[in-house]
């Protein structure tokens, strides 16, 4: 187990170093998130629907798009640098490879969300103060779900035609359960409802994460090996 994590960290660190060296993808994703939030502002009628009712959906649609962007660029780096071949030739276990990629993707999306959340609070005047910690918890849970399946699928679509279209088409159905959970819990948190009301959804999120991280860990090697 320790070996697995050590190997995963090697993979993750390599990816993250590459990412932060160029920073282009990261900055683009952050700017994109800010723009999406802005578009949402103009896409609604503040007199018709209270912002607070729309807020959870706005936040999560934005985060979903950001996650998709992050995942899309995940394996592009590999293809461009031909690094994938080297990784596969090494004695690195496929599970570590998956976890490493997953952690790197998670870090990327986390940075984007870390910028996106304050922007969201600012643009839409959302009262997150008292519920910040649980909110971050929910964001983390849902993001793990997104990234778990997304990392697996992005490994596949890299070698398909129309990869940029293929990833959303394949991935979006899988993002619905964590999305439903996340939106519902966020809505309840923002409305200052007691956490007990969100328990069902939190269990859904947790179960989804556990099941799909496990499943993807097992299936990952079939996407990269003969």
């Amino acid at each position: 187990m320790g070996d697995l994590l050590a190997q995963a960290w090697i993979v993750a660190r390599k990816d993250l170093v590459l990412e932060f060296r160029t920073r282009t993808a990261l900055l683009s994703a952050v700017v994109f998130t800010a723009l999406v939030l802005t578009v949402f502002n103009f896409g609604r009628d503040p007199t018709a629907v209270a912002t607070i009712d729309l807020a959870p959906s706005i936040l999560w649609v934005t985060f979903t798009f950001a996650a998709m962007l992050a995942l899309n660029r995940a394996f592009q780096l590999e293809l461009e640098n031909g690094a994938l071949e080297g990784l596969l030739a090494s004695p690195l276990s496929r599970v570590s490879l998956y976890w490493g990629k997953g952690v790197a993707n998670l870090a990327f999306v986390a940075v984007v969300e870390a910028v996106g959340l304050p922007l969201f609070v600012l643009f839409f005047d959302v009262p997150v103060g008292s519920v910040l910690l649980p909110l971050i918890g929910v964001i983390a849970l849902a993001t793990v779900g997104f990234v778990a399946v997304g990392t697996l699928f992005s490994a596949m679509v890299i070698r398909t035609r129309f990869a940029e279209l293929m990833l959303p088409v394949l991935l979006l159905p899988f993002l619905i359960p964590p999305l439903v959970g996340a939106v519902q819990v966020t809505a309840r948190l923002l409305a200052s409802r007691p956490l007990s009301e969100s328990v069902g959804y939190l269990k859904l999120l947790a179960a989804y994460d556990i099941v799909f991280v496990s499943l993807a860990s097992v299936l990952f090697r079939f996407t990269v090996d003969e």
């Binding site: 697996l152 159905p173 619905i176 859904l204 989804y208 099941v211 499943l215």
Partner: protein, 226 residues
């Protein structure tokens, strides 16, 4: 008799029997008093749902077997089952709203059944799209298998999400469709319809499987086309 011919024969039998079910359902099965004639859509919608679920289940099972045993027959079968499943899902997706409109007063509602139908359809489509986007047969088989397994695992989560979501929202139900216990005649019609849809599933899958074999023999494969 070649596989294709056998498939055609089974399908033909299925279609003739379907005509029989039509006659029985429309003319010889009593009408449900509260829902009126529209209730009879039930005799097509529910068996179609069964066939679609069966198709998806077998895609999943076949995918697991393919990854374990690497026998191309499982891949061929999964592809056939997916295409046939798409067809039955389409029947579900059309008969569902047509039944919903007179009974529930609306063409669409995000209740568990219709939502699951929609997702099943998206999953099948995604599967077929993925297959058409990968040129190399071995890669295609592996990728499809991964997607097929993930899709099957996703279904219970979709059901759970919708269930959680709906229990808190009132349903726009005007009349309640399909009571749990059916009077004799109706039950017989339903069971006959189940049998016929199963026959159609077998016939269609056999034909589609034979088609894959034929294409492989000709060297053209399934690339870029369903």
């Amino acid at each position: 008799m070649s596989l294709a011919q056998r498939g055609r024969r089974i399908t033909l039998v299925g279609l003739v029997l379907l005509a029989g079910v039509y006659v029985r359902a429309l003319a010889y099965t009593p009408m449900e008093r509260f829902q009126g004639p529209a209730q009879k859509i039930f005799y097509l919608h529910v068996p179609a749902a069964w066939s679609a679920m069966l198709a998806m289940g077998l895609v999943g099972l076949s995918s697991v077997l393919y990854l374990l045993l690497r026998d191309a027959r499982f891949d061929r079968f999964a592809a056939a089952s997916a295409e046939v499943g798409t067809t039955f899902s389409l029947v579900m997706l059309t008969t569902g709203p047509i039944w919903a409109k007179p009974i529930w007063g609306t063409w669409w509602t995000w209740d568990a059944r219709l939502t699951l139908t929609l997702f099943l359809f998206f999953l099948f489509l995604g599967y077929l799209l993925l297959r058409s986007a990968v040129a190399e047969p071995g890669l295609r088989a592996r990728y499809s298998a991964v997607l097929g397994i993930c899709g099957l695992v996703l279904l219970p989560f979709i059901h759970l999400s919708v269930y959680l979501f709906r229990t808190l929202h009132p349903q726009p139900i005007v009349l309640k469709p399909s009571s749990p216990s059916l009077p004799g005649d109706m039950l017989i019609t339903l069971l006959l319809s189940f049998a016929v849809f199963t026959v159609l599933y077998v016939g269609f899958v056999t034909q589609r499987y034979a088609l894959s074999l034929e294409r492989e023999a000709q060297g053209s494969g399934d690339v870029g086309r369903a």
